[in-house]
Amino acid sequence: MSILTVKNLTKQFGGLVANSNIDMEVQKGSITAVIGPNGAGKTTFFNMVTGVYQPTSGEILLNNESIVGLKPHQVTKKGIARTFQNIRLFGAITVLENVMVGMHNHLHGGLFSTILNLPRVRKEEKEARREAYRLLEYVGLESFYNEEASSLPYGAQRKLEIARALATKPKVLLLDEPAAGMNPKETSELTKLIYNMREELDLTIVLIEHDMKLVMEISEHIVVLDHGEKIAEGTPDDIRNNEKVIEAYLGKGAATTAS
């Protein structure tokens, strides 16, 4: 069953076509990778799905319900969470609080009940703290919980982004280059984490990644973008042997991408 369906999705910035007529189906419970050379329009695609950019035309359906035109926070409420390619943590607050921010929509304390410090608000906060700590344990960051987020090492910051996204209780998780800047050991831990998340948390995962080893290892389905267009899709084996893909990465396509 398809949980996320994209039809004819197009985005233009002035004269520049960043995404052109992209069609895609993401199966529920799958791990799907979106790959392509730099500037292929992968992040633009994520930005449209999460409501950061409005598509010029096309449809995005989550469980057969259109999410085009929703604001980013509404998309999050619908059940899509994401991480960012250029890490966007809340640097000056603690690691634990970063995760707690992710629970925003699942907490109900209003202005007055908070000021009055009602017992239910206190209880809710306490549970939120526990839950946040559990999520930190899940990604392996619990020892940092009281630290300022900006003080974390790079790889840990990427993991914190994942924990924070999980806190929104998503159905679909979009990971934008989760392994960028990680060393091989961290990457293999991350690979395991992504795999486990799908198995244990009833998640559908879509990821953008340049690390082909990681992509080929865990994704069931791969979509290849080049110059804003989908040039191929299929299983890792299909993609490995696809001529268009090889051309996009190495052939004459490479020359034009570099310019």
């Binding site: 910035f13 992040t43 930005n47 950061v52 950019y53 960012f84």
Partner: protein
């Protein structure tokens, strides 16, 4: 009612053009700095004010020595303009070096706060120097070009009233036009102008192309501040009386002009300045008439701010600016 508005139109246009020319040049300073650093340089209004004081002080000194009477007014003007622009230009560069450069990578909020601090500091320094030398911080300079010229607008159409202008009006306008044309030429046709545009577009890439970014930014501050200071002199000559607090509100309106024209766009700032000047004068003359006395002339400031807010909300890229997309 329309007749009444038309009666005063020639005078409104003349006054609006004068004020607009002042706004336009001050707006250049805001737009250049914003274009290159994305910083609202709150202190720019104070640079303008400092220019007015420096110019007036020089004129008063000349008058004190009795030179002013023996010197052609135009020579005195050119001299004062040159000295003042160098002084304020250096002041602007100094401010950038001390207060803004160390914060170039800090959050914007912090830089804005320093800018406000600099602005307050300048106000008070000028205040106490003026008060120390003069006993009073409100200063009236010697009048240079005070002849009145009547314009027989009624001969064009009987609906217009006659207007009158001080001869300094022409000086302000001519000097303003010269400054704007020169700057436009400088930015668009010279090597340094090109470096400036390059830094504004992409600081890092410009640096890779061996543009000395710090030098370009310092130059931008120098030119913007020199123009602002010179405009201060023009303002003092045209309106006579100055005080240390003229810069803030005027700066705010000039900033409005810069935003209206599309921030970072030099020709846009000039156009925006003239437009705001004319609209403000129109509002000052006609708000009481149109509203039957309910809205006094003091609401002209409200009018200017209202334009700012409306532009920022509905067309933040201004009349001639490009829509920018935030990269995620």
């Amino acid at each position: 009612m329309i007749n009444e508005v038309l009666h005063t139109l020639p005078q409104v246009l003349i006054d609006g053009l004068t004020l607009g020319a002042v706004y336009a040049i001050v707006a250049l300073g805001y737009t250049m700095v914003y274009g290159i650093l994305e910083l609202i340089n709150f202190a720019h209004g104070e640079i303008f004010m400092t220019g007015a004081f420096v110019g007036t002080a020089i004129l008063l000194t000349f008058a004190g020595f009795g030179w002013l009477a023996s010197m052609p007014a135009l020579v005195a003007l050119v001299l004062v303009l040159v000295v003042t622009s160098v002084v304020t230009g250096l002041l602007g560069m100094g401010i950038e070096r001390v207060a803004y450069r160390p914060l170039r990578n800090a959050p914007k909020l912090i830089t804005l706060i320093t800018a406000i601090g600099v602005s307050f500091l300048l106000q008070d320094i000028v205040r106490f120097i003026a008060e120390l030398k003069n006993g009073n911080y409100i200063l009236t300079g010697p009048s240079l070009f005070s002849g009145q010229i009547g314009i027989k607008a009624s001969s064009i159409s009987s609906i217009f009233n006659d207007a009158s202008v001080k001869s300094s009006f022409f000086i302000v306008l001519i000097v303003a036009v010269i400054m704007m044309v020169t700057l436009d030429f400088f930015v668009n046709k010279t090597k340094w102008g090109m470096a400036m545009r390059a830094v504004a577009q992409d600081r890092e890439t410009a640096a890779l192309m061996s543009v000395n970014v710090n030098k370009v930014i310092a130059l931008t501050f120098f030119i913007g501040s020199a123009l602002g200071g010179a405009t201060g002199v023009l303002f003092a000559i045209q309106y006579g009386t100055i005080d240390p607090y003229i810069g803030f509100i005027l700066g705010l309106k000039a900033f409005t002009a810069a935003v209206l024209g599309g921030i970072g766009n030099i020709r846009g700032a000039m156009f925006g300045g003239i437009l705001i000047g004319i609209m403000e004068m129109f509002a000052a003359a006609n708000l009481p008439v149109i509203s039957h006395g309910v809205l006094g002339a003091e609401y002209k400031d409200v009018f200017a701010f209202a334009i700012l807010i409306i532009v920022l909300i509905f067309k933040p890229e201004g009349l001639f600016g490009k829509v920018s997309i935030e990269k995620v």
